[in-house]
Subunit: 316 residues, 2 copies
């Protein structure tokens, strides 16, 4: 059972800690890296030895955060997990640091309470919001690098202030990060206006198989295993394209099908309005949420398509 | 010569005005409509007769603003232009209302001062920011419809808080509009996460002709006249796709070529970093800005491409 603590207690514990390792979750996103990054800079400014560890490599696009990654040259005495909801999210490479997690700072309502002490704010749109409030209370200069780290966390976790988790506080914090020197124009270009050649290629391929059904209310696209290999698309790229069919005007059910190594099809369903994506997928042995769900279909493309469209028709 | 007035003076003039016509600019965008819409609702709440006029039709996607459009059944006694930088931007259909423009509220630095009195705030990211401050001072209830109108203006003029015109105040106002009931999730889906079938089709067609040059530092795509006609793409759609090639990772010069009715090619150049788009286009008889420029090239596709790429090579 974890001890739930508040911001003041976190301040106190960090003030008393030395040789601090900050752990990020695997497949690191802008929030886990930006939050850990800003905290790393703040702790360093307090004269403490600190570093960041992530079991997966950090992509070059985040170089501007100047993350102090752990090089193994010293032994951590205090371990803090940042934006990590459960122990399984650290990734295998982190196992050696998990004997004891002293502190966890997170915003996921599903946080499992694996750490000795946890500061959990489920109403925060991003862990970066919590770290912002923390650093504001610390006796350190708030630098533009910290502001860039936290702007990254806040903007990526909210889809640039578009998602339902965005609150008025999110915008107020964004304003204050701009005032503290966040290079928001450059960051937004990098984070939201840029695409890899690979991602564009798989998008293009999937769209070449775009079909409209039920009078344009359903759009469906698919990519074969060969096409995935040919474009070099990774799982992030494939996840990224699933939102495209639903974005088309008039479409209320967007379906993306990608062939797996086994030959079967992974189906992603995205819906708008009153249509329940989970019902469509549950009927095919899958599950998910109202707006986003998925299932796997064993069989060839034509059979998989027919089965999915039959379920879509029942809901549309 | 226009009289420059402040917010308090605008309040006073509107308080004394009756039968107010609010004029939007042609090709109306989210800011001119949202700003005029919110002001329409505020004036109506004050018990005044008011309406909105725009020389171009308002697309259905803005229906949620419940804009009170002018039906010609009464004679305007007071005319106020909202987000209109110059007289030529009203469009031909507005000529009859321009004998006297009593008031202009705008944020364009280029505002020509055509109105009797002007409230100009060039540091406002959107006219909607100014209207927000105005309505806050008025003795009216701030309704969710007004908040939706103003959120629309602010978010569309800043590309959802991404463009360089965004200021800390923009974010603070967005926060307050959320608190006043703006349906920001729905609005963002509608404004930023939706694409017409037509737009998607022309994107798809253009990308099918995507070429990389100079080791991936330049990306070029084109659409023929036949393809434009086949997809039904309009000038907005064509303008919209010009940002795509530059978005690709590693690309510093993005070139989009579209064939005109005359058979010649209109070339749009978008650049990143230190590369001057205007220099590239100026060498071909065109012009524009550092990051975005254009030119027209008479000749067939191969000649046009070769000429543009030769200029790109000089700058890259
Ligand atoms: Mn997060
Ligand atoms: Mn504007």
């Amino acid at each position: 059972m974890t001890e739930r603590i508040d911001l003041a207690a976190v301040m106190e514990r960090l003030a008393g800690a030395e040789d601090i390792l900050l752990l990020c979750h695997k497949n690191p996103d802008g929030d886990t890296l930006g939050s850990a990054g800003a905290l790393y800079w703040a702790l360093t400014a307090l004269g403490k030895r600190a570093a960041i560890f992530c079991s997966d490599p950090v992509t070059e696009r985040y170089d501007y955060m100047q993350l102090g990654l752990y090089d193994g040259s010293w032994e951590p005495k205090y371990v803090a997990a940042i934006d990590v909801a459960g122990i399984q999210l650290f990734g295998e490479g982190a196992a050696q640091y998990l004997k004891r997690v002293d502190l966890c700072i997170d915003h996921h309502p599903s946080n499992s309470g694996y750490a000795d002490a946890t500061l959990l704010e489920p109403e925060a749109a991003a862990t970066a919001e919590i770290i912002y409030l923390l650093i504001c209370r610390m006796e350190v200069e708030f630098t533009p690098v910290m502001a860039d780290c936290l702007y990254t966390g806040v903007s990526t976790d909210t889809g640039c202030f578009k998602f339902a988790n965005t609150t008025p506080r999110t915008h107020h914090i964004a304003a204050e990060l701009m005032e503290r020197g966040a290079h928001f124009v450059h960051l937004n270009e990098l984070l939201f206006e840029s695409k890899s050649q690979r991602r564009l290629a798989i998008e293009q391929t999937a769209l070449s198989h775009l079909e409209y059904h039920f009078g344009g209310r359903c759009a469906l696209m698919y990519v074969s295993r060969d096409e995935i290999l040919q474009t070099g698309a990774d799982s992030n790229d494939l996840e990224g394209i699933t939102s495209i069919p639903r974005m088309i005007e008039g479409v209320v059910v967007g379906v993306t099908m990608r062939q797996l190594e086994s030959g079967s099809y992974k189906v992603s369903v995205r819906t708008a309005g009153e249509i329940d994506a989970c019902k469509i997928c549950a009927a095919l042995g899958g599950g998910g949420h109202m707006r986003a769900a998925g299932c796997e279909f064993f069989g060839n493309l034509e059979n998989a398509k027919a089965a999915v469209l039959a379920e879509v028709e029942k809901q549309i």
